[in-house]
């Protein structure tokens, strides 16, 4: 065991030597808790009665962790934890800044609501097929995507939640589910493969995959490396994930096929991961390339929001209408990215928070309407106002929120985005946002008029009174989603400030970079 001195190195220079404070673990808990919970649920897969409550407990604990994380990030700035003590760029680091923590908190809240709703929606067979483990693993993947600081690790988290979403999508194995899942699976796989191509090219160019390290080194490689190609590939891959026009056709083809709570979580969460990845990669990694691409992104944004909602106008199936409303919302979020100004980015973050809450709520509302009215088709469903006035009130509030009318949460992000577009002189983008708002109002108001106000043709008492009692739990859950939406609508200041904080971190990522490399770039 003769060790020559030439072969020994001082590992202290490459490793974290300071002890990690217990409080820093809050960075990893939003990912680690759902993984542990999902693993335990997989082990006890036959005790289906336990599943629901264990999943709710784990989701609640994750919600507590993400809340603590957000509080700390607001107080102290970006938090970094490096796996296995190897300092970045060698080790994989988890970096939580205001943007990631806000998204993670909202996503975890919605997942908790979904887990509660699933208690009444998913039967024992669905639970035995693994609904709850997949739900928690999907949450782990989504939170991991929001918090990771490494591009390849982002790819891995993408795959984690995509594979879990496959499991959720084919739960029940009906014909239409398999049809929808085929299209969803193939297109998502192509999108992640394109992402991987970009990752490989980026590694070949810069020799690093740590996001902060890329941001530091990207300036030097601008003359020699194919950075524009890489940025465009990333735009393509994440745009596909986010269902931006013209890459959005997988979403309306598949999101209406699974169980309604699965649709709700997909519509709320999965496309927003694409938006988050676009924000992070375009603003922090490739800021100059984004400027070049901004016209393209603006056209994509306008087309997505207007053509998306036109798709909703042409549908008669309630779930497919909501699917197209989700697509239209993606366009509104892309508008902020196209502008790139702090105000526009704040609008995007605010709209994303609103959209995660409201799109989930819309799908759950459609589920309750199906229970009350017995159909998803606008041709058949009618007379719900007479039978379920409370459901009508909730539906009315959600229509206002989704259309961006006061006093709910949809108003403020659109106000911010329209102002940001006018500030940038892109008046046509502002018009597109307003037109898509009007069309959303028409599409959803028609649903409300036909499903709630129209009398049933047989004129008898609708659907029976027994259904009203069963809907009780569903009302409470929908109200749980509406409360934050109303709060944002009436008192937007705290959330707006949070969105501005997140946007400031994107426009000027120096604090984020400093948190990863405290000694400056290249140390």
């Amino acid at each position: 065991m003769a060790v020559s001195s030439a072969n020994t190195v001082d590992l202290g220079a490459a490793m974290v030597t300071a002890p990690t404070a217990l409080a820093d673990w809050v960075v990893i808990l939003p990912v680690a808790l759902p993984i542990l919970g999902g693993a335990i649920l997989l082990m006890v897969r036959h005790q289906v009665r336990l599943h629901a409550w264990m999943a709710v407990v784990v989701a609640a604990a994750t919600l507590a962790a993400t809340t603590a994380l957000l509080v700390r990030v607001i107080a102290e700035g970006a938090l970094v934890m490096t796996m296995g003590r190897w300092l970045p760029p060698f080790g994989i680091s988890f970096n939580a800044d205001a943007l990631g923590a806000t998204f993670a908190l909202t996503a975890t809240f919605v997942t908790l609501v979904g887990a509660l709703f699933a208690i009444r929606d998913i039967d024992a067979t669905g639970r035995r097929y693994g609904f709850y483990p997949f739900l928690l693993l999907m949450l782990a993947g989504v939170n991991g995507s929001f918090l990771t600081g490494d591009l390849f690790n982002l790819y891995v988290w993408f795959e984690v939640f995509v594979i879990s979403s496959f499991g959720l999508l084919v739960l029940g194995s009906e014909q239409r589910q398999i049809d929808g899942a085929s299209k969803y699976a193939v297109l998502n796989l192509v999108a992640t493969t394109v992402f991987l191509i970009a990752t490989g090219a980026l590694y070949g160019t810069l020799g690093t995959l740590n996001m902060a390290d890329i941001a530091n080194k990207v300036g030097a490689a601008r003359e020699t490396g194919p950075l524009m190609t890489i940025a465009t590939l990333l735009l393509l891959a994440f745009g596909m994930k986010a269902a931006a026009f013209p890459l959005n056709f997988w979403l309306p083809a598949s999101y209406h096929t699974p169980r309604i709570v699965t649709s709700a979580l997909f519509g709320g969460l999965l496309t927003k991961v694409g938006i988050y990845a676009l924000l992070r990669s375009m603003m922090v990694l490739f800021p100059l390339e984004r400027v070049v691409l901004s016209d393209l992104i603006a056209w994509v944004a306008g087309a997505t929001m207007v053509l998306g909602i036109m798709g909703a106008l042409a549908q008669s199936d309630l779930r497919r209408i909501v699917g197209f409303v989700v697509v239209s919302g993606i366009g509104v979020m892309l508008a902020g990215l196209a502008l790139g100004s702090p105000l526009g980015l704040a609008g995007t973050v605010l709209y994303a928070v609103h959209s995660i809450l409201i799109m989930t709520a819309l799908y759950l509302l459609v589920g309750l309407m199906y229970e009350a009215g017995g159909s998803y088709s606008l041709h058949d469903i009618a007379g719900l106002y007479r039978a379920h006035p409370l459901l009508a009130a909730i539906a009315f509030a959600l229509v206002l929120a989704a259309a961006g009318l006061p006093p709910l949460s949809g108003l403020w992000p659109k106000v911010v985005l329209v102002k940001a577009s006018l500030d940038a002189g892109m008046w046509w983008l502002a018009i597109a946002i307003l037109v898509s708002g009007i069309l959303t109002t028409i599409a959803l108001a028609r649903v409300f008029a036909l499903a709630f106000w129209r009398d049933r043709p047989d004129a008898g008492p609708a659907a029976g009174d027994g259904a009203a009692a069963q809907l009780g739990g569903g009302y409470a859950i929908l109200a749980g989603l509406l409360v934050p939406a109303i709060w944002i609508g009436i008192y937007p200041e705290p959330v707006l400030q949070l969105a501005q904080l997140a946007a400031a971190g994107l426009s000027d990522p120096s604090a984020y970079l400093e948190a990863v490399f405290p000694l400056g770039p290249g140390s």
Partner: protein
């Protein structure tokens, strides 16, 4: 595929392959090998057993459902990351100890338990896919 030769040799082949997979798993400690490749070897062993003798004997022999096995693996791997919680080092840091058990020095580490977790995840998920495909073939 249910020839006499294959059916007779399959149980021996399977047991040998499972033994070899454990060897590869533990060899990964210091040499090429490890949980992933070991898990694949074990999963292909169960797939061979399934081809030779049918799927239900495999499920009986495994006793636990394959997905439960992979859940256990995931749990073990995640838990081995949490061991560093008590030593003031970041998540997933490798911690080593070398206790003397019956006069033999045994190197134990969180990395080893993580690798065993990977082994179970791979065995469970690949076996469940292979068994699902084998079941369909007879339809």
């Amino acid at each position: 595929m249910r020839t006499v030769i294959f059916r007779t040799s399959a149980p021996y082949l399977t047991s040998l392959m499972v033994l070899f997979s454990v060897f590869v798993l533990l060899r990964g400690h210091n040499e090429p090998g490890g949980g992933f490749i070991g898990g694949l070897i074990a999963a292909s062993a169960f797939a061979i057993y399934g081809i030779a003798c049918g799927v239900s004997p495999v499920r009986r022999a495994l006793y636990f459902h394959p997905m439960a096995l992979s859940g256990f693996g995931l749990f073990l791997a995640a838990l081995s990351g949490f061991a560093s919680l008590f030593f003031g080092v970041p998540f997933l840091t490798g911690l080593w100890t070398s206790p003397e058990i019956l006069g033999v020095t045994v190197d134990l580490s969180t990395v080893l338990f993580f690798d065993i977790g990977v082994y179970f995840v791979v065995v469970g998920s690949v076996t469940s896919i292979a068994l699902a495909l084998e079941e369909r073939e007879r339809l």
